[in-house]
């Protein structure tokens, strides 16, 4: 019974998203920027490949930036939040403002199917977007450079897509939470955007400031102090999903990355430069993945509790 109503609500939300102009605009925006970045990366890839030894040519399509256009992953990292925010900022308060919430809840359904259906439909829309765009972009990449991806590259790309979905759905969960906290859709949209700017830009700035206050660095400071300073800055930065996402994607798409924290030169002595296998890269970013999923769950859990306790006044 309740499973059925969840399915009905989920389908309706999905249809709403897919038919909305908002979705079309977002898809166009992401597709155009993604294609532009792939095109410029592919044009410059021949020189890059001949200059240095690199086994993972296909992955470089996604990480390399062209002359003036940033790389695919930096576009996704920048615009991904926008997708999540746009899909969720009016999901609950819009329903209240249109007067449909009390009518909906007067049907024989469990109250949580409403919020579950909305969140799941949002995640599915994001997944459709990420996978279809990723596959199109990859296909164009193959056509342009003429090198098919290896099996490992495919695994790495698929993991990258999944991480991207988690990343975008955090923003969906955040905007859905704001759509519960604020009555007006405009307010919740603004609050979500403020959150986005704060987490993707200001956290980085603040992290540096805070680290310098706690572990001040000057000409005389010890290596230990400098290490503490940059470790603290890194940890503070990792509070933001943007940092978690970019570190995770760098590891996934660039097998040459062997560590994400600061290490001293002496620790590198004797190390043989080379690519990490896929499983080792995954191990490296495992904490990031867990954090991304946890952030999703925390945001959603808060929304869930607020929604279940909310007085439903028409």
């Amino acid at each position: 019974m309740s499973r059925n109503s969840l399915l009905v609500l989920y389908k309706k939300e999905l249809a709403d998203h897919l038919r909305s102009k908002r979705f079309v605009i977002l898809l166009l925006l992401i597709a155009v920027t993604g294609l532009a970045s792939i095109y410029s990366a592919a044009s410059g890839i021949r020189e890059a490949v001949s200059q240095e030894e690199n086994d993972f040519v296909f992955l470089r399509l996604f990480t390399a930036s062209g002359n003036s256009i940033p790389s695919f992953i930096s576009f996704v990292s920048l615009l991904g939040p926008l997708v999540g925010l746009a899909l969720g900022f009016d999901s609950i308060n819009g329903e209240f403002n249109r007067g449909t919430m009390s009518r909906l809840l007067a049907q024989p359904i469990h109250r949580d199917s409403v919020i579950n259906g909305k969140f799941l439909a949002g995640i599915l829309v994001i997944s459709i977007m990420v996978f279809s765009l990723g596959i199109v972009v990859g296909a164009i990449g193959i056509l342009m450079i003429g090198i098919p991806p290896t099996l490992e590259e495919i695994f790495r790309l698929l993991s990258f897509f999944v991480v991207t979905i988690f990343y975008m759905s955090i923003w969906l969960a955040i905007s859905q939470l704001f759509s519960l906290l604020f009555k007006q859709s405009a307010t919740s949209a603004l609050a979500s955007i403020a959150m986005w700017l704060f987490l993707s830009i200001f956290v980085g700035l603040l992290a540096g400031v805070v680290a310098n206050v706690i572990f001040p660095i000057d000409n005389a400071s010890t290596i230990d102090m400098q290490l503490k300073n940059s470790n603290l800055e890194l940890m503070l930065n990792r509070l933001s999903p943007t940092t978690l996402f970019s570190e995770a994607t760098i590891c996934l798409l660039n097998p040459g990355v062997r560590t994400l924290s600061i290490i001293t030169v002496d620790r590198l002595i004797g190390a043989i430069p080379g690519a990490l296998p896929f499983t080792q890269s995954m191990l490296l970013i495992w904490p990031h993945l867990v954090s991304l999923i946890a952030l999703n769950m925390i945001c959603f859990a808060i929304s869930y509790i607020i929604f279940m306790r909310r007085e439903i006044r028409a």
């Binding site: 249109r98 009518r103 909906l104 007067a106 024989p108 359904i109 469990h110 006044r313 028409a314």
Partner: protein, 314 residues
């Protein structure tokens, strides 16, 4: 009465912080009757309805509909109760049919059943011609009628209507009332109407309850209400006779000890007394060759209920 009790409310109380929205409400509503819950805005009508639907939890007391406890078994209750909220909203970018179909699916009806119900309900609320138009193009009255169709999708035993006539023009109000009366009488459904528009609603109600500040002042058929509400207050008779002379006053005084007579500038006589003296008064006046031009009992009819509790609400 030997009818079945459909809605049973016992000692229902709801407090918001310091404000008591519903104060120890006791009320039985019988199967197949139209009950009007009438009270000024802010009297606690909507709160009571939300408790009946299990959308709000009572602070104390309980309510059952058809034997189901509304707080503990809301899903069972919502299966048999159709609810039309005030300011009902629909998904504006969907057509009327799509909106009704969605409600039907949430009620777990099969697709065939849904389509046949939609057809017959649109017929009934006179929206067949516009059933495939988007709800955004509907007028207030059309939306309200669609709301009625929406509550009937689940073929409910009980229908709860919150301010169904608000914002409608006089023709729309009459149409709405006829529709409500028809669906109660023909299908033997129990209807609970909440409204502050005493005059319009009482026309179709079997019984009404006057609900002010969370308390039910009186309930019963409308013509008995005045007595109940103003039970302990003196009656006032408004009288106009010809001729008016000194003998008149002493004649009236002779009927009962506790009458209080005053005459205003327009030659209207006001007689205050604690019991109904209309019959002896008329006899004594006709015996003494006074002709009665006008006699009205003040303080116990609908007008007085209205001016006392509802004036200034519309």
């Amino acid at each position: 009465m030997d009818k079945n009790v459909m809605i049973e409310i016992e000692n229902l109380t709801k407090k918001y912080d310091d404000v008591i929205a519903v104060d120890h409400l006791n009320l039985d509503i019988y199967e197949g009757e139209i009950f009007g819950l009438l009270g000024p805005n802010g009297a606690g009508k909507t709160t009571t309805i939300l408790i009946l639907l299990g959308l709000t939890e009572p602070t104390a007391g309980n309510a059952t509909i058809n034997g189901y406890n509304t707080t503990k078994e809301p899903i069972h209750v919502k299966k048999i109760v159709g609810y039309l909220p005030d300011n009902v909203g629909f998904y504006e970018d969907m057509t009327a049919r799509e909106n009704l179909r969605f409600t039907g699916r949430l009620n777990n009806l099969n697709e065939k059943e849904i389509e046949s119900r939609i057809d017959s309900l649109l017929e009934r609320v006179k929206l067949v011609d516009v059933g495939d138009r988007k709800v955004a193009t509907y007028s207030r009255g059309m939306k309200q009628r669609l709301g009625i169709a929406d509550t009937l999708m689940k073929n409910p035993k009980v229908i709860i209507l919150d301010e169904p006539t608000i914002g409608l023009d006089p023709a729309g109000i009459n149409e709405m009332l006829e529709l409500i009366e028809e669906l109660a009488r023909e299908d033997n459904r129990t209807v609970l109407i909440s409204s502050h528009q005493l005059y319009q609603i009482q026309k179709i109600c079997d019984r009404v309850g006057i609900f002010v500040n969370g308390k039910l002042l009186a309930e019963g058929p409308i013509h008995t209400l005045g007595e109940k509400v103003f039970e302990d207050q003196p009656l006032t008779l408004e009288l106009n006779v010809e001729p008016i002379d000194d003998k008149l006053v002493s004649l009236i005084q002779s009927i009962s000890e506790d009458v209080n007579i005053s005459i205003d500038d327009h030659e209207k006589i006001f007689i205050k007394s604690n019991n109904d003296i209309r019959t002896p008064l008329l006899r004594i006046l006709s015996d003494n060759d006074y002709s009665v031009l006008f006699l009205k009992q003040r303080g116990r009819d609908l007008d007085d209920i209205y001016s006392r509790y509802f004036a200034g609400e519309e």
